[in-house]
């Protein structure tokens, strides 16, 4: 029984003897050439340039920077608008001279 098993194992190991090399598709060159042509076109060059890690990282940082700037600017604009509104109210009701002690005149 063991002998039979060993024979099978040897037959499997020898099954690659005299193996013929597999052939690639006959259209390989055409496909490779098309890919190379695509890469050399303007879109190919642009996408490869954008895909470079340094460029991709720089673009990410730039976008984060622009976002941060927009948020800060919006917040500043909101604060400025509030201050302007408060000033208008103060001018309208003549309360621009009041300070904390004046506001507490009801306190004992």
């Amino acid at each position: 029984m063991n002998n039979e098993l060993n024979k099978k194992v040897d037959a499997a190991l020898e099954s690659l003897d005299g193996l013929q090399r597999a052939s690639a598709s006959p259209h390989t060159y055409t496909r490779v050439y098309a890919k190379i042509r695509d890469e050399q076109g303007p879109w190919g060059i642009t996408s490869r340039w954008l895909a470079r890690p340094v460029i991709a990282l720089a673009i990410c940082l730039l976008l984060i920077g622009i976002n941060a700037w927009i948020i800060i600017e919006a917040r500043n604009a909101a604060i400025a608008a509030k201050a302007e509104q408060a000033e208008e109210v103060a001018v309208t009701y003549h309360i621009d001279g009041l300070n904390s002690t004046d506001n507490n005149f009801l306190l004992p």
């Binding site: 020898e14 690659l16 690639a24």
Partner: protein, 191 residues
């Protein structure tokens, strides 16, 4: 054509020289990739990718290694990367199958198209066993048995000493024998 002139033309990305390179190398690249990934469609993609990568890198080819070693190295790297991608895909496949309700695909036994007809059955069992070998053993065994490379060149491709390649091949054979024995023991009453 003189080898040095040919390499200089390749470095200058001469189309004629590149065509010659593709004609000479496409079958070797495909055969090596097929031996490693054991899937014809993947081997076809790898062959194209290796040749495109070679075209891109040719201007930087310094000739430190032989052109053959350089191309085989790109092929091995690309094949391993393809295998890892497949493993990652398969890793998530169960989740996709769970949600889509699809049944997982049954793995088809791979047989290299160059195997003699009367040996295909044994070869299918052997290829399954090869696919279970540790990565370095699998590469060394494939490069030797499928691409027919000498140990010296396998060492250059895998950046190992000849002794290390010899040891890898020895261990690969032992592992294969063990796996094949297990297989035939389990399937003793079939056929």
């Amino acid at each position: 054509m003189d080898e040095a002139v040919y390499i200089r033309l390749l470095q200058q990305q001469d189309e004629g020289a590149f065509r010659q390179l593709v004609d000479t190398w496409q079958d070797r690249i495909y055969n090596t990739a097929l031996g490693i990934v054991q899937q014809e469609a993947d081997a076809d993609d790898i062959t194209q990718e290796v040749l495109v990568k070679a075209w891109r890198a040719l201007p930087k080819f310094r000739g430190d290694a032989k052109l053959s070693t350089w191309l085989y190295r790109i092929t091995v790297r690309q094949s391993l990367s393809s295998l890892r991608q497949r493993q990652r895909r398969n890793g998530w496949q169960w989740l996709t199958d769970f949600f889509t309700g699809e049944r997982p695909e049954v793995a088809i036994d791979f047989v290299h198209p160059g195997v003699a007809l009367e040996r295909k059955q044994e070869a299918a069992v052997l290829f399954k066993a090869i696919s279970r070998l540790p990565e370095q053993q699998r590469l060394a065994y494939t490069l030797m048995r499928i691409e027919g490379l000498p140990m010296q060149e396998i060492g250059e491709i895998l950046e190992l000493q000849v002794g290390a390649v010899e040891s890898l091949l020895q261990r690969a054979k032992q592992n294969l024998k063990k796996q094949l024995l297990d297989h035939y023991n389990t399937h003793r009453y079939e056929q």
